[in-house]
């Protein structure tokens, strides 16, 4: 494709393109390649500790080396490989499947990718900071607070910060995908009609939106304990009674609750995209529509909801009470039922169709078999009495690898399935089948002996001599599995040059829309605006779009006309050409969508430097402090640059938008982000409530809070924030009336009140830091006790939100002063959504932290 046709994007052969691109297909490829890099990284670590486990004892890596290898292997595979690998496909395929020309916010999509990449780089750098994280992928606290980490523990802090960066990437991605899927579906494509892979991604991002917010809260609290010196996870504060939990009885359970509230949905976050790939491959290679498609979808929805009500089955061996364990045993056993239905649906699809054993199908079928084994062995762990026996053993290790790696197995199938679409070349089928055979043998030789040797204690390098044969078999299996991946890399790499050219659709019965365009698809995806109004995919040209969108009723929202006939099936009709020459809107000379921006890379680079600096600020090192400061400046500066950059990402003129037809994409994006922020603050407030209940709700105030901590500063701040919210809505009214002075004055007033809020908070904090009473002779600061920690961190997080709001407000005040927003108050409204949310949070923090 020529450079001119790529709207300023350099060609794919140019390195600069990959730093600049915001196009979903390019970003998808970047995700896939990066995730495969982290697969190799995590895989090599696994091979290292499998070598260690040939014999009991740490004679190869040493004890700390072993702990580091095991912990980072888990983190890399769960966070930096599987989900990003799935989101490589999601990026590439979902817009094509739903009829969109890109994601709703292309620069945000690039930002997600670069944050992901740099979070992984930070994880890598942590290996060079003495030692990296060694406390298990579940990061249990207080084990992973600095007091219990050998050495300075800077590498461990870096890993926690890397995960925060990763979580930011995921949250932005979730907002982007949800906005895209609810605002940019082709006309006639109802939510229930979108292809099953896209549907699986939709449910995955819903789970991500809420689950990762809880993880973010957990990570921020852990980071605060690492860097700021709060004591959320410390048993005692005086340094002499570490063996007792009298001062903070909720310490260890708090982490478990926060982590597993995220952690169990994470299992489905990892597995759902794989399930989507399996469903696509089963349909394509049996030539049969998914049997019981409606019930398959309902089951997925049920699992997505129920996934948030099973987390305590990871805590059966902790001190939580028996009634709650029983409830969570029931919900856990219950969640297996919809999975049964999905498994039977896939099996029946196979039975009813004519199977063609291509490589993608073999991987999908293999994944199904592995998942059945993983699922059944998981039910054992969901039963309380059996879990008492199995918890902390290799039964758990074997079970979750059969589940998680079965997901990866399906995703490898997805890689073969979409490889011709992404590259335009066909892979070598024979090598693909050899890869599958080697992979499947290696997998089972690696993980099945772990069931037999289940009495081996998990995370420990010592085990009974009787079990050595099983561990030796597993090590051999691990190397076979690793070697099988080399076959795949070779096959896919060589096929880029030697592979046969494929047309639009190399698979006989593939029916989803990505197969209706060329391989690879053009930059703008489709030759016109896609529609399913007559039951199958066709494309509207500019003339038709203009006719439909002009005049009264030309809202751009699809009417309740036609619907997609069969799961979004794309049999191209009417004027559509499968391989377009020039997009219709381009031929008409319309303004092009932008596809290039360097700012997402710079923002993420700045974030990386800042976080690396933060990992070592507690040492007082000038280097670390400087990096934190410079990185922070680069991040803020780049965000400002991104705001100023002209970037055009047009909404589709005609699209299916239920149930958010009248909520434009910026507004929907903001609301979606706020829903995630609700969970973040909810988890912080929930943590406060939890540790207070653990301590004794009534005693808390008497024992831990000084009399000098009074209501009035909180009340004054409540007045300030309420008034600032009032001024924001007045700014909207003024903008509607095209009163430049009114708009500017109201926004300036909002800014001034926000600054007043922070000053008042600063005065209050300074006073509390320096009180000297009989109970608190050294002041009441972040480290004084668990109550002070919860107060400063929760209100501090809120203060950080206020500060971000003020930066935006200052910019908008300047813009209003120069004449912006007159007659169009939307930007003020979107800012207001955020600002009012910050106000609402304070309406709960005020009573909880100042009155009750």
């Amino acid at each position: 494709m020529s450079e001119a046709h790529d709207h300023g994007l350099p060609p794919k052969s140019s390195v600069s393109r990959w730093f600049l691109t915001t196009n979903h297909k390019d970003i998808g490829v970047l995700y896939l390649v990066t995730a495969l890099f982290f697969l190799v990284f995590g895989g090599l670590l696994a091979l290292l500790f499998r070598l260690e486990l040939i014999t009991p004892g740490a004679d190869l890596l040493g004890s700390l080396g072993y702990n580091q290898a095991v912990s980072t292997h888990g983190l890399l595979m769960v966070f930096w490989f599987i989900s990003p690998f799935a989101f490589g496909f999601a990026n590439y395929v979902v817009p094509l499947q739903i009829g969109a020309d890109d994601l709703a916010f292309p620069r945000l999509n690039a930002l997600s990718y670069w944050l992901y990449l740099f979070s992984g780089v930070l994880m890598g750098v942590s290996f060079f900071q003495g030692s990296t994280f060694a406390g298990g992928w579940t990061m249990y606290a207080p084990l992973n607070t600095p007091a219990y980490i050998p050495g300075e523990g800077l590498g461990a802090t870096s890993v926690v910060l890397a995960l925060i960066m990763f979580t930011a990437a995921v949250t932005l991605g979730s907002v982007n995908f949800l906005t895209t899927m609810y605002r940019m579906r082709a006309e006639g494509l109802r939510m229930r009609d979108i292809p099953i892979f896209s549907l699986s991604i939709n449910l995955t991002v819903w789970m991500m939106l809420f689950a990762f917010a809880a993880l973010l809260a957990a990570l921020m609290i852990l980071t605060s304990d690492h860097i700021l010196g709060t004591t959320y996870f410390q048993f005692a504060n005086d340094g002499s009674t570490l063996a007792t939990d009298a001062d903070n009885p909720g310490a260890s359970l708090l982490w478990a609750h926060l982590f597993w509230f995220f952690g169990h949905p994470e299992v489905y976050i990892v597995f759902f995209p794989a399930l989507g790939v399996m469903a696509e491959c089963f349909q394509t290679f049996t030539g049969r529509r998914l049997v019981g498609r409606k019930w398959f979808i309902i089951s997925m929805v049920l699992v997505a909801i129920q996934s948030f009500a099973v987390w305590m089955h990871h805590m059966f061996l902790t001190g939580i009470n028996l009634p709650i364990k029983t409830i969570f045993m029931a919900t856990t056993i219950g969640i297996s039922l919809p999975f049964d239905l999905m498994v039977f649906s896939l099996i029946y699809t196979m039975a009813k169709g004519r199977v063609r054993f291509t490589t993608p199908f073999l991987f999908s079928l293999g994944a199904l078999i592995l998942f059945i084994v993983g699922g059944i062995t998981g039910v054992f762990l969901g039963a309380i009495v059996l879990d008492y026996q199995f918890r902390g053993t290799y039964w758990v290790v074997a079970h979750f690898h059969y589940v998680m790696v079965s997901g990866a197995t399906a995703l490898f199938g997805g890689l073969y399935y979409w490889y011709p679409k992404i590259t335009g070349k066909m892979y070598d089928e024979t090598l693909g089948k050899i890869h599958f055979a080697t992979y499947f043998v290696g997998f089972n030789l690696l993980y099945f002996p772990m069931f037999v040797a289940w009495e081996t204690p998990r995370r420990v390098f010592e085990y009974s001599q009787d079990l050595q044969i099983w561990h030796s078999m597993a090590t051999v299996g691990g190397f076979i599995l690793g070697a099988s991946m080399l076959i795949m890399f070779y096959n896919l790499f060589v096929s880029l040059w030697r592979g046969e050219d494929v047309g639009d659709n190399p698979w006989a019965y593939a029916t989803t829309a990505e197969w209706a365009v060329s391989s690879p698809p053009p930059l703008e995806n489709f030759p016109g605006v896609p529609t399913y109004a007559d039951g199958s995919l066709s494309f509207m040209d500019d003339e038709e779009v203009a006719r439909r969108t002009s005049g009264p009723g030309g809202s751009g929202v699809a009417a309740d006309g036609g619907t997609a006939a069969d799961g979004g099936t794309a049999s191209v009709t009417t004027a559509a050409t499968a391989t377009p020459a020039t997009p219709a809107h381009e031929a008409a000379g319309e303004e092009h969508a932008s596809h290039a921006s360097f700012w997402p890379f710079l923002v993420s680079l700045g974030g990386f430097v800042a976080f690396l600096g933060l990992s070592g600020v507690r040492t007082g090192s000038v280097v670390y402090v400087s990096m934190a400061a410079v990185g922070g400046l680069v991040t803020v500066g780049s965000l400002f640059g991104m705001t100023r950059e002209p970037f055009h990402a047009p909404e589709m003129p005609i699209a299916e938008r239920w149930p958010f037809a009248s909520v434009e994409k910026m507004k929907l994006g903001m609301w979606t982000f706020l829903a995630s922020d609700i969970v973040l603050f909810g988890a912080f407030i929930g943590s406060y409530a939890f540790v207070r209940v653990a301590y004794g709700w009534s005693e808390w105030h008497h024992d831990l809070i000084p009399a000098e901590h009074v209501t009035m500063p909180g009340l004054i701040n409540t007045y300030l924030l309420l008034t600032s919210s009032f001024l924001v809505v007045l700014a909207m009214v003024a903008a509607e009336r095209e009163s430049k002075k009114g708009t500017t004055a109201a926004l300036a007033g909002t800014f001034a009140l926000g600054v007043g809020f922070l000053i008042n908070k600063g005065i209050e904090w300074n006073h509390l830091f320096h009180i000297s009473t009989e109970m608190f002779p050294n002041g009441w600061n972040l480290s004084t006790n668990i109550a002070s920690s919860t107060f400063y961190l929760t209100t501090g997080l809120h203060g950080a939100h206020v500060t971000i709001g003020l930066l935006i407000c200052a910019y908008m005040t300047y813009r209003a002063w120069t004449g912006a927003y007159q007659g169009d108050d939307r930007a003020i409204e979107y800012f207001g959504l955020y600002w009012h949310f910050v106000d609402i949070v304070w309406l709960f923090l005020f009573p909880l932290f100042y009155i009750l």
Partner: protein
């Protein structure tokens, strides 16, 4: 909504915030803690709903936006309530 409507909401929010502080100043928090807790938290919820409904215009948005917000709220409440109950 015009500026008069927004002003009425602002006055109500201001009065409710003051009422929360008054509950403490008159000693109900000391004499009947859980009654005070109930009054204060209900007032907070009413204020939050007021801001969301009128200042964030949820009242005029499609119900789906409200469900989106409720989804996050229910998730946070479920975590808080179940975690706290687990150690009672």
């Amino acid at each position: 909504m015009d500026w008069k409507g927004y002003t009425v909401i602002y006055v109500v929010l201001f009065v409710f915030a003051t009422a929360q502080a008054v509950v403490e100043f008159v000693g109900i928090v000391d004499s009947a803690y859980w009654l005070a807790f109930g009054i204060i938290m209900v007032l907070s919820v009413v204020k939050a709903v007021g801001v969301a409904a009128y200042y964030q215009h949820l009242r005029w948005e499609p119900r789906a936006v409200t469900y989106l917000v409720l989804g996050g709220t229910v998730a946070a409440l479920a975590l808080t309530a179940a975690a706290a109950y687990s150690i009672v």
